[in-house]
């Protein structure tokens, strides 16, 4: 019975359209494609807003409050980096991979794994080390959404920063190895980004 239905459906699909012109069918698919793609990207962008990210109390009452005190939230030039600027890559492939990965966070929300400040604190290192591991793997692609070492003007940096950046570049370091715990409270835990990078490279 089921096979008969599938066969009929397949035959229908394979039968040339006699009622509508190729132009009508083609145009319909073209318009439908635009609507689908536009809708998909609009939905993706909606999940990248500050309002969306801080829509749940788990983020709003903890990391968001910490981030509000940092230079990425408020600064001299008025350029704000919101959650997605640092936690979601800009290019499509990496962005999709991150969005799929983030669907696990929806499960975390539903099951309430960090729904109290105490639970959040208990998980803070695990959450941070996951973000660090991801960033050392992608050469801090999220930082490089805005910051490019080759675009930096060393003369405009302090002597300390110039030395650190030159050393970091020579040692093949990635941004997060030094610039961690800058937007949120640094968690106490065994490994920082550099140690995680070494472990990942060793396949541990």
């Amino acid at each position: 019975m089921k096979i008969a239905w599938l066969t009929r459906f397949w035959v229908t699909l394979r039968t040339p359209c006699v009622k509508y012109s190729l132009l009508t069918v083609g145009s319909s698919f073209f318009v439908a494609g635009i609507i689908f793609w536009g809708g998909f990207n609009t939905a993706m962008e909606a999940t990248n807003t500050l309002e969306f990210c801080t829509g749940c109390h788990e983020m709003r009452d903890t990391v968001y409050q910490e981030y509000k005190k940092t230079i990425h939230y408020s600064n001299r030039t008025g350029v704000r980096a919101i959650c997605s600027d640092c936690h979601v890559p800009k290019d499509w492939v990496h962005k999709m991979a991150r969005k799929i990965q983030a669907s696990g966070e929806v499960w975390g929300k539903l099951t309430g794994v960090i729904d109290t400040p105490e639970k959040f604190e208990a998980k803070r290192y695990q959450l941070a080390s996951r973000a660090w591991a991801r960033m050392v793997t992608t050469d801090s692609i999220e930082c490089r959404n805005c910051h490019h070492i080759d675009s930096m003007a060393p003369a405009m940096q302090t002597e300390k920063a110039q030395r650190r950046h030159a050393k970091g570049k020579a040692e093949g370091k990635t941004c997060i190895e030094c610039h961690f715990g800058i937007a949120h409270k640094e968690p106490v835990g065994a490994d920082g980004p550099t140690e995680l990078k070494a472990k990942l490279a060793a396949g541990k």
């Binding site: 030395r163 050393k167 715990g181 490994d191 140690e195």
Partner: protein, 81 residues
């Protein structure tokens, strides 16, 4: 913690991880059981000094407040790591 953040101490120090400056846990371990610890550390965080990083001498910053209570709190926090 807030004073450490405001004074940009975390640029070079971490609580327990490797950065250019020693981790606060290392500092606490170094001063453990030493009666002069609090006085020495208070001087270190309030008066500009020089430190060596990768063989190069650099200025070590100082906290930008004069509240003795807050400085004492900061020093005790570091020593209790």
């Amino acid at each position: 913690m807030a004073l450490l953040e405001d004074s940009k101490c975390f640029k070079c120090h971490s609580v327990d991880k490797k950065k250019d400056g020693p981790a606060y846990k290392e500092v606490a371990a170094k001063y453990k059981g030493k009666p002069e610890a609090e006085a020495k550390l208070t001087k270190h965080v309030t008066q500009p000094s020089k430190v060596k990083i990768d063989g190069v001498e650099e200025d070590h910053g100082a906290v930008k407040i004069r509240s003795e209570a807050r400085i004492k709190n900061l020093v005790q926090w570091i020593l209790s790591r």
